[in-house]
Symmetry: C2
Subunit: 409 residues, 2 copies
Amino acid sequence: MADITHVSPLAPAEFPTLPVIEGAEFAAVEAGVKYQNRKDVMLARLAPGTTLAGVFTKSSTRAAPVLDCQAKIGLDSSDGAAIIVNAGNANAFTGKNGAEATNAVTSAVASVLGVPENRIFSSSTGVIGEPLPYDRITGKLDELKQRLSDTSIQDAAEGIRTTDTFAKGSGAEIEIDGKPVKIAGIAKGSGMIAPDMATMLVYIFTDAKIARPVLQSMLSELTDLTFNNITVDSDTSTSDTLLLAATGASGAEVTDTTGPFRDALHQVMLDLAHQVVRDGEGATKFVEISVSGAATDADARTHALAIANSPLVKTAVAGEDPNWGRIVMAIGKSGAAADRDLLSIKFGDILVAENGWVCESYNEDDGASYMKQQDLNINVDIGLGTGQSTVWTCDLTHGYITINADYRS
Amino acid sequence: MADITHVSPLAPAEFPTLPVIEGAEFAAVEAGVKYQNRKDVMLARLAPGTTLAGVFTKSSTRAAPVLDCQAKIGLDSSDGAAIIVNAGNANAFTGKNGAEATNAVTSAVASVLGVPENRIFSSSTGVIGEPLPYDRITGKLDELKQRLSDTSIQDAAEGIRTTDTFAKGSGAEIEIDGKPVKIAGIAKGSGMIAPDMATMLVYIFTDAKIARPVLQSMLSELTDLTFNNITVDSDTSTSDTLLLAATGASGAEVTDTTGPFRDALHQVMLDLAHQVVRDGEGATKFVEISVSGAATDADARTHALAIANSPLVKTAVAGEDPNWGRIVMAIGKSGAAADRDLLSIKFGDILVAENGWVCESYNEDDGASYMKQQDLNINVDIGLGTGQSTVWTCDLTHGYITINADYRS
């Protein structure tokens, strides 16, 4: 198994202090699903009246808990709800046993918490293809219930990690109609990260009061600007799940998908998405790739992802090599419209290439010096139209090979 | 620069003895385009009456020599022809200077050999974005002409290498209407290898007499079965060029695109394509991925390439880990039709998974033992239809990172 005691060099200095979300309680325990001596199961209990929205992997081989969540997410309900997540085993490609295990977990949670089973959402993350030893989870439910606390969200973030080298959290506090409104989210993910959607588990909580259709619409739209625009290795997991729960406890109601709540939620989602990239397996560089001037926004995203997923671009970044030729190559292969002689490329503010060739003012030493930074911006203008897109990725290093040639995921 | 003194562990034991193609002569010299102390420019002279067909990269940022070849390849002519290739500099993304450099080289070759300029085909491979020091090439043309010999094809194979760790050649001899017919081909390529087309330079010669339309049709069709189905790193070069020249000197005429000539040409192309994969940057395993039972052949190819290009599958192969869960993941993300519970997966003859789960008869030790082989077969049946496809790839290792984080290509 990979050494996960070494924290990513791109990690934030510390886990943030997240606001307490009234109506949401958390607990995490060591259940030994696969890992020993670390928290690996988390439970979140949500108060009656909570609305939930979700976004899930589009993989055609998605795991049993994902299918179960998708079947349940569309229901409006004034009952409470709960989210149960285990790390270490993805309960994916486990035949009919997969659904049985998921049902065993969700029905046990329903029974312990006194909440209808169709309001219990579960996720599993870790190894594919091994039966989920679900009794290890259900055997810990009483302890989880006892530990539930509205200040334990960091424990929850710890409990959902697999190869993550740090727990990921982000929060925001705003005011709506004079009432304080809070958002707190946690995420896991570091390998098998690519749209759609960003191959990870994400749980976000707010005390705003938001009807389900509004919540879902906002979540889907913001996912396209955040988690769907990150990539570590172009591989998409079978377990991607993003759940957004609104307890309504603040009394402040959000009725449309624009305005300050959306902006705050966007910020939390972007922060979590960036943290996942910053924990990319083996990552030593965080790279923002902005493409403008494409024929359409979709073309811009195709170009940006072709650059972000190119092993040759990613290894050049790892080697701190300002190898803009590989960026030209990636644009050329993307399949979206481009004209070699209209391209311009910048590293940060440094104009590198334009009019189909390296720029006269460009100095290789400036490029090499820029590439030594930990956070990089690659800016490409296609020169054809007004389409634009921004995606985020990391470099491809020996660390990625070491982690993935050994770790059975 | 990468250490290319270390030969790939997957390399053939030696360069094959290739048949002499009457009407085709070769030479290679040290021109110092970029590399020192190695042959880096090759010239092939083709006798009057030679027909030529070509396949080129679809990159929208393709290099000047590619555009020049594409403009010339469709012409029928009874004049002689020539192919001039340099390694070390791709003459790609070099603005208007790119076309000027290409024209300078091809017009000089035309003048030295006394062949019309529209019959001079050139390729350049190596660094992108630096001006081609074409005088280093034109300054060697007299020497190249003097060295031309019908037995120097191995020199030519040596002269087109960049990060290749071995020169690649393949040949065949057959009989048509009682007359001996020969085929000899050379190739270069080891990184930036992916369809379409397989990101490399390939030159194949035969003494059969074949009209241009027949030659082009056969070449295009066979490219889809060979070079378009290999991938090292999913990156597509700006310089891909495959030229097939038929001198007609054998007197044996090929008039249709089926039959023994096609089969022999297919074999030569497949051998060269496999050699490129065997020289994949950092490769330690050669992997054949066969997908059957897909809804269509195109779907089968999409699945096969998703598996072949998945960094998580490729690192698992590098780690000799029979990690079939990652194969399920890759199928799931490919976008082509699949049903989790109808999939079956074999490593060689070992049935690993079926009916949506690991097979009862499967023993992890057998899988682990199988993965220790140098040549691997991953066989997937989608269980939906009759579509099938086979692609070839290699593993993703520390060697790939080392080569590409340092080498400016």
